[in-house]
Every structure is written in structure tokens, then in C-alpha cells.
């Protein structure tokens, strides 16, 4: 690649600028700005109720921002129509905090669900191949015909992760991926996340306050306080900070 085009890969995959979101009179995000670089894992740290989930749900268009702008893969999301939003969402995997597995469907049907819209014309064999590949990558190929309720919490998290990977996303958004899991399982999930990052070559935003997970996964950390990006830096930089607001997360 020559120097003239070298600016393209360094363009941020997600650019959030001056994002504002409120519910009624409760301001949740206030002038929040952040860039996610290609290939990077960005952790967003914040206390519970600080608006972390609202932030990533704004990114994927589940909430509409009240101000500011979000650019994902070069497209301003506020300009997208319904079709455009669907196309953008196909490139972005979202791992929900509660996994959001469809509990009336088998693991296979869960994984096939995103394909019914985005890969409508795919053959049965190809669909099956994708399902097995995604499940194998999370180490759960044997659960393909089980119901989500038959799986442990950690396994459900893996299946949910496999489901988000089925469309080969460029960007992954994780909402508290290790919250509610025991420390050993939590460690497994964060290790898996770094592997996924490598296999699928994704850029990620990870919401967490599990510092073990943060240390293992984060390239950079953004601290969300009072609705804006209070601090931004690597794990080591922030750990050495003397600011009381930042220190509290590392204790």
C-alpha cells in the first residue's frame, strides 16, 4: 500500500462526537466524544447506572441520540434510513449483557436467526457450515441441538458470542461480558474475547468494571463519568493516575 492511501486504515471505525442523550429530564450522556481505531479494543469504564449501556445502544441504533453524531465505518448513523441501518448492523456484533438468547429456540436456530435477514439466499449446507464454525470457535460445537436453558451461564455467554460472530462482524460491542459469571468463567470469556479479536480481526468496544477482564482485553480505556469521557489512556497510564475518580476503579 502506498503512502497516499495509508490514511484509510487509520481512520477510526467508530467516531463518536459530542454525543448527547437524555430520558425526560435525566441527562445520561453529555458531550461524550470517543474514537475507536481499527483493530483496537477499547474498554469503557463506568459505575453502574452511568450510561454505558445507553452509550453502546446508541451506537447500534437501539436508542436515538438527542445530539452530537456517531460515524460507524465512515457512515453517519443519523443519516441512515432503515435499510442503511440494517446494513450497518450486519457489520457490528452486539453481545448483550443478558445474552438475549431466544429461549424458545435451539442453539442452532439462535445462530441461524441473524442469517434469515442478512444471508437470505444462502444454502442449507453453507448455513450449517457457518453455524458449526462459529460454535467451534467458542468451543461449543456439541451444544448445537440443545436449548439455551440447558446451558450454564458461561456456556450461554459463549453461544451468544457465537451468534454475534455468525455474520463476521468488523466491530464487536460487548456489554459487561463477564458480569454475573464466576471468576474462572469470567477469565475464560475474556481470554475467548482476545482470541476472537485475533481470529475475526475485529475492533471492539467493551463495557466492563471487572478489572481482571479490563486488564486482559483493553488496548485503551475510556472512563465515563457524568455523561462524558472523563479520561482516556492505557491500563498502566490510568492505574498510575492520582485522580480520585479514576483511582476508585483500580482499588
Amino acid at each position: 500500500m502506498d503512502n497516499n492511501t495509508s490514511h484509510i486504515p487509520t481512520d477510526p471505525v467508530i467516531r463518536i462526537s459530542h454525543l448527547h442523550k437524555q430520558f425526560g429530564s435525566r441527562v445520561v450522556l453529555n458531550d461524550f466524544s470517543l474514537d475507536l481505531r481499527r483493530g483496537e479494543s477499547m474498554v469503557v469504564l463506568g459505575r453502574s447506572g452511568s450510561g454505558k449501556s445507553v452509550l453502546i445502544k446508541c451506537l447500534i441504533g437501539l436508542y436515538m441520540p438527542d445530539g452530537g453524531s456517531i460515524t460507524i465505518l465512515g457512515k453517519d448513523t443519523s443519516q441512515l434510513d432503515h435499510e442503511g441501518l440494517d446494513v450497518m448492523r450486519a457489520h457490528v456484533g452486539f453481545l448483550f449483557q443478558s445474552n438475549a438468547l431466544y429461549d424458545s429456540m435451539t442453539v442452532r436456530e439462535n445462530l441461524e436467526f441473524p442469517m434469515r435477514h442478512h444471508l437470505k439466499n444462502i444454502s442449507k449446507e453453507e448455513a450449517n457450515k457457518r453455524v458449526m464454525e462459529a460454535l467451534t470457535n467458542v468451543g461449543l460445537a456439541h451444544t448445537v441441538d440443545m436449548m439455551p436453558s440447558e446451558l450454564s451461564g458461561g456456556m450461554q455467554k459463549r453461544v451468544a458470542l457465537a451468534r454475534t460472530l455468525i455474520l463476521n462482524p468488523e466491530i464487536m460491542l460487548y456489554d459487561e461480558p463477564t458480569t454475573g459469571l464466576d471468576p474462572v468463567t469470567g477469565k475464560e470469556i475474556s481470554t475467548l474475547m482476545t482470541e476472537i479479536q485475533r481470529i475475526y480481526n475485529t475492533s471492539s468496544i467493551i463495557i466492563s468494571h471487572d478489572m481482571k477482564c479490563v486488564e486482559r482485553t483493553a488496548d485503551r480505556i475510556a472512563v465515563l463519568i457524568d455523561g462524558n469521557c472523563y479520561a482516556l489512556g492505557t491500563f498502566d497510564e490510568l492505574q498510575q493516575s492520582n485522580d480520585q475518580n479514576i483511582k476508585q476503579f483500580f482499588e
Binding site: K57, I60, G61, L62, D86, R89, A90, V92, F94, F96, Q97, S98, N99, A100, L101, Y102, D103, F113, P114, R116, H117, H118
Partner: protein, 256 residues
């Protein structure tokens, strides 16, 4: 369940329900519909409620007959028993009892199901994976309840009448053919049609309230329980209100 205590709560609730209904109408006319889900829902709803509706219908027919007999005897018109019971069942008791049972079973079921899908973010997950959750979950269920309730009411009426036939035979004697001949001889379109049309509205109300309550469920398992409960209370109430309105309309139209 907490009913809205003041006017402003009530108006807010009514407003958001109206929005939900208008969204339903909009989505209903979208060219892409989830027909497979609709058929599946019809099947599930039918299977879930048929036994219950059959048993209650049978008992209603039997009990009604046994209770009416002494009064009719005292007027010396015992022979009119099949006609009286037939009219009562087809015009009022069949549709309303079936709808109430259906509301208790199906509206709460839908409220709890969609409520738990809401709080565990399954509805959000559908949205981000390119499937319109409103069409996939709400439109299919509301259409299914609207279609299935009239069918179940016809079945329930038939079973009720059979119960009534057995009731007649406890102390008297009639053949099944004669019994049904007497019933159908008196029934006219103006008895059957308004009754069937109102069950469409009952079915719609039951489906839409269940979905509305589930779709707007509050966080937590308590929220899901509340949704299911509110769905039954509100849809049962609506059944009586719709019943009252239809009787007024048929009256005005001179269909009595």
C-alpha cells in the same frame, strides 16, 4: 395489579396504547409478513386453550340447562328448553365465557412471554439482527388471537350444546337430532353473526393487550409478572365493554 389512579395516568396509558395499536395497523400493511410464525402461533394458541375451553363450555351448557329447567317447568314450557339454552349459549354465554377463559390463558401468556423477552433484551437482539420484532412477535400473535377466538368459540358453542343435550336428557328425553333441530330452527343470522363478529374484536383485544403489556414490560422479574397480570385484567374488562357496545349496535341496527 394497580389500576391507573388518576385521570392523567389513565390518559397517558390510553395514549400509549393508541400509539401501539396504530403501529400495529402500520406494520400490518407492510408487504413482508411473518406468515410461518403466524401459523405457528395459531397452532400454539389453539392447542394451549382448546381443552380448557372445551371443558368449561361443556359444563356451562349442562349447568345452564339444569338450572333453567325448573323455571321453564313452572311456566309449562319445558319443551322450549333447547331453544332457550341454544340462544343463550350462541348469543352471549359462549362468546363471553370463551373469551374470558382465552384472556386468562392466552393474554397473560403473551404478556409474560413478551415481557421476559423484553427484559432479557431478546427483542433488542431481534431488532439488531435485521428482523422487525414488532412484525415477528406482535403482528403474528394479534392476528392469531383474532382468527383463533372465533374458531374456538364455534367449537365451544358446539360442545356447550352437547352438554345441554345431556342436561335435557337427565330428567326428560330427546334425541340428539331432535335437540339440534330445535336449536337450529330458532337460530337466525341475526343471532349468529353479531356474536361471531364480536368474538373477532374480543380476540383482537386479548392479543393486542397481551402484546402491549409484554412489549412495555418494566425491568426485572416483578415487571414481567405485573405485565401478565395487567394483561388479564385489562383484556377481561375490555371484553365486557366490547360486549356492551355490540349489544347497543345490534339494537340500533334492529338485529334483535
Amino acid at each position: 395489579m394497580k389500576l391507573p389512579v388518576n385521570l392523567s395516568d389513565f390518559l397517558r396509558e390510553a395514549g400509549s396504547l393508541s400509539l401501539f395499536v396504530s403501529r400495529f395497523v402500520t406494520e400490518l400493511f407492510h408487504p413482508r409478513q411473518e406468515w410461518r410464525q403466524f401459523v405457528r402461533q395459531c397452532f400454539v394458541i389453539g392447542v394451549q386453550s382448546f381443552a380448557l375451553i372445551g371443558i368449561t363450555g361443556f359444563i356451562m351448557g349442562l349447568v345452564l340447562t339444569m338450572q333453567l329447567r325448573p323455571s321453564l317447568m313452572s311456566y309449562g314450557v319445558e319443551a322450549q328448553l333447547p331453544v332457550m339454552v341454544g340462544l343463550a349459549i350462541v348469543r352471549e354465554i359462549g362468546p363471553v365465557i370463551t373469551a374470558l377463559i382465552f384472556a386468562g390463558k392466552i393474554s397473560s401468556g403473551i404478556g409474560a412471554e413478551l415481557g421476559s423477552m423484553k427484559v432479557t433484551e431478546q427483542i433488542d437482539a431481534m431488532e439488531v439482527s435485521g428482523t422487525n420484532p414488532f412484525r415477528y412477535l406482535v403482528v403474528t400473535r394479534v392476528l392469531a388471537t383474532t382468527v383463533m377466538l372465533p374458531i374456538l368459540t364455534v367449537l365451544s358453542d358446539a360442545i356447550s350444546l352437547y352438554g345441554s343435550y345431556l342436561g335435557v336428557n337427565i330428567k326428560g328425553h330427546t334425541s340428539l337430532t331432535l335437540f339440534f333441530f330445535q336449536v337450529f330452527q330458532t337460530l337466525t343470522y341475526s343471532d349468529v353473526l353479531p356474536a361471531m363478529i364480536k368474538t373477532l374484536f374480543f380476540g383482537f383485544a386479548i392479543g393486542i393487550i397481551g402484546c402491549y403489556k409484554g412489549y412495555n414490560s418494566q425491568k426485572g422479574t416483578e415487571g414481567v409478572g405485573k405485565s401478565a397480570n395487567a394483561a388479564v385484567v385489562i383484556s377481561s374488562l375490555l371484553i365486557f365493554i366490547i360486549d356492551l357496545i355490540t349489544v347497543q349496535i345490534t339494537d340500533l341496527l334492529g338485529l334483535n
